[in-house]
């Protein structure tokens, strides 16, 4: 089963934004993310993991008919609803996917305390097997 783990920008109750963290705290956070990816690869479960550039660089593109496409800088949904990054994993069960998501949510913030970022877990649609 394939799952996508989505992480959004946005304020988490009781957590200062990352630019107020110390360099050590930021480093620890990044190392944690890399460790999860290495572990998922090592377990034969990682398909892809990417971070997306911030909302500042985001564009909205709309087909412009015979003319040029319409490209604007927004309006976007609320900042906190924008996708910041994702992982795609291939695991044996929903239970395992929840375990991974919980682990991702435990990424450390200031003083090494888990920031408990909510992780949106979505099953990726699959092709279809033989008819019963």
């Amino acid at each position: 089963m394939r799952f996508m783990l989505l992480q959004n920008y946005g304020h988490i109750e009781g957590v200062e934004p990352m630019h107020r963290w110390t360099p050590e705290e930021i480093r620890a956070h990044i190392a944690f993310q890399q460790r999860i990816n290495a572990e998922l690869t090592e377990r034969g479960e990682l398909i892809d993991a990417q971070a997306l550039t911030g909302p500042e660089a985001a564009k909205l593109v709309t087909y412009g008919g015979t003319g040029e496409p319409v490209v604007t800088d927004g309006p976007f949904p609320e900042y906190k609803e924008l996708l910041a990054g994702y992982r795609i994993i291939d695991v044996e069960s929903l239970e395992r996917a929840i375990e991974v998501a919980a682990q991702v949510s435990a990424a450390p913030g200031q003083n090494g305390v888990p920031i408990k970022q909510p992780i949106e877990l979505r099953e990726v649609m699959a092709p279809l097997g033989p008819e019963a």
Binding site: T41, E45, D48, D90, M125, A126, P127, L128, E131
Partner: protein, 405 residues
């Protein structure tokens, strides 16, 4: 069908025999498997230019043994293993080793995903890159999956031997289950690389044929092979040009492979006569009834209904009960099918298959608004792209027909 590759076919067939010979001699499955992969690679690059050796298996065993000994030596000095090799000399392995390897690779200590990958590599002789491509997984991830599987085998201390006594039926069932899953992986509709997928199904059929050679009297082995052949026969008709799902009732049956159907029919008839009926034989018998019919209308639904009843008692699987309800509807009308669905509704509440089956039966019954509602509920819940598209299309067609009446 892919064009013939004599060397490639020879190597695939030889791979598990060579591995079996090495494991029996040196007992080190994980390292032996690496050594065999290297020997296969050497053969694939050298044979086309230099010609295939007279005794290909002997050649591969020798090259792989040398690699393995080099590796064991570099790990620690295990001279006695080399002496063991000198003493035993080359020998002729056979399919027994291949089947024993399958028992190792399908060991219950492994997750199903790992068992599938390891079987394809160690027994099927596919490269990690080929397996990764067929399963749409990065090669590094697949390599790790295989290496972890080998690690699990090492840790669990599984011997290179076939299980005995009460273990035998349980372990044979896992071998057959893994082969069945490999076949299904290759039969998926709507994935990117159709050719790579077809090759995976072909591999499952090839390996099941080998199991049958080694265990010719086991009716469930024959049943599984028949089920694969009878399903594979429909591959050319199961999807449209755009990969869209074509249900059994609407398939162009002239495109079904009659040779595969003939072989599958004969196999299941022979197995059935032995009187030890199991779930694969029942599924094969159902597939045979579909494959023999000229269309949905002249299918023997009463017999299919009875067989699903048998399968339901054997497996207790509610998905089987859903199929049984469809057969009831086809035999006796939608009212009968809906009556069989009712007791399943609590158990399968919210399951997309329940909605999809009920939608079809309601449509048969002329209750189109209710059918649309169930088609849409099923479309929202399925995790399969072609099925979702099919269900949405089905609902849209009914809505259109309502508008014009």
């Amino acid at each position: 069908m892919r064009p013939p590759h004599p060397i490639e076919d020879l190597l695939r067939d030889a791979a598990p025999q060579v591995l079996g010979a090495l494991v029996r001699r040196y007992g080190n499955f994980a390292d032996a498997e690496d050594a065999v992969q290297e020997a296969l690679l050497a053969a694939a690059t050298q044979w086309p230019a230099q010609g295939t050796p007279e005794n290909p298996i002997g050649w591969l065993v020798q090259v792989a043994s040398r690699r393995l000994i080099d590796q064991l030596r570099s790990e620690s000095s295990r001279q006695e293993r080399e002496t063991a090799y000198e003493r035993s000399g080359p020998e002729r392995p056979d399919y027994d080793d291949t089947v024993t390897l399958m028992f190792m690779c399908a060991h219950p200590a492994l997750t199903t995903g790992s068992a599938i990958a390891l079987t394809l590599r160690a027994v099927g002789g596919l490269t990690t890159a080929e397996i990764a491509r067929a399963f749409l997984v990065p090669e590094a991830t697949m390599a790790q999956r295989i290496s972890r599987a080998k690690q699990s085998i090492k840790q669990s201390g599984v011997a290179f031997a076939r299980p005995t006594g009460s273990q035998w039926p349980v372990r044979l069932a896992s071998v057959l289950h893994v082969l069945y899953l490999i076949f299904n992986e290759g039969y998926l509709t709507g994935s990117g690389d159709e050719l790579a997928r077809a090759e995976v199904s072909g591999e499952a059929i090839r390996l099941t044929r080998i199991v049958r050679l080694a265990l010719p009297d086991d009716p469930e082995v024959a049943g599984l092979l028949a089920l694969m052949l009878l399903t594979e026969a429909r591959r050319p008709a199961r999807a449209g040009a755009g990969g869209e799902l074509i249900p059994l009732a609407e398939q162009d049956r002239t495109r079904w492979d009659r040779d595969l159907i003939g072989e599958g029919d004969a196999l299941i008839a022979e197995a059935w006569r032995k009187g030890a009926v199991g779930p694969y034989q029942v599924q094969a018998a159902i597939a045979a009834l579909h494959d023999q019919a000229g269309g949905a209308a002249d299918t023997d639904w009463r017999e299919i209904f009875a067989l699903y009843g048998l399968l339901e008692r054997m497996t207790g699987n509610p998905m089987v009960s859903l199929s049984r309800a469809i057969a009831a509807a086809m035999a006796d009308g939608p009212g009968s099918g809906l009556a069989y669905l009712r007791p399943l509704e609590a158990r399968l509440a919210g399951h997309h298959r329940l909605h999809a089956v009920r939608a079809h039966l309601l449509e048969m019954d002329g209750r189109l608004e209710d059918a649309i509602e169930d088609y849409e509920a099923a479309a929202q819940r399925t995790a399969s792209v072609p099925e979702q598209q099919y269900l949405i299309m089905r609902a849209a067609r009914l809505k259109q027909s309502l508008k014009f009446t």
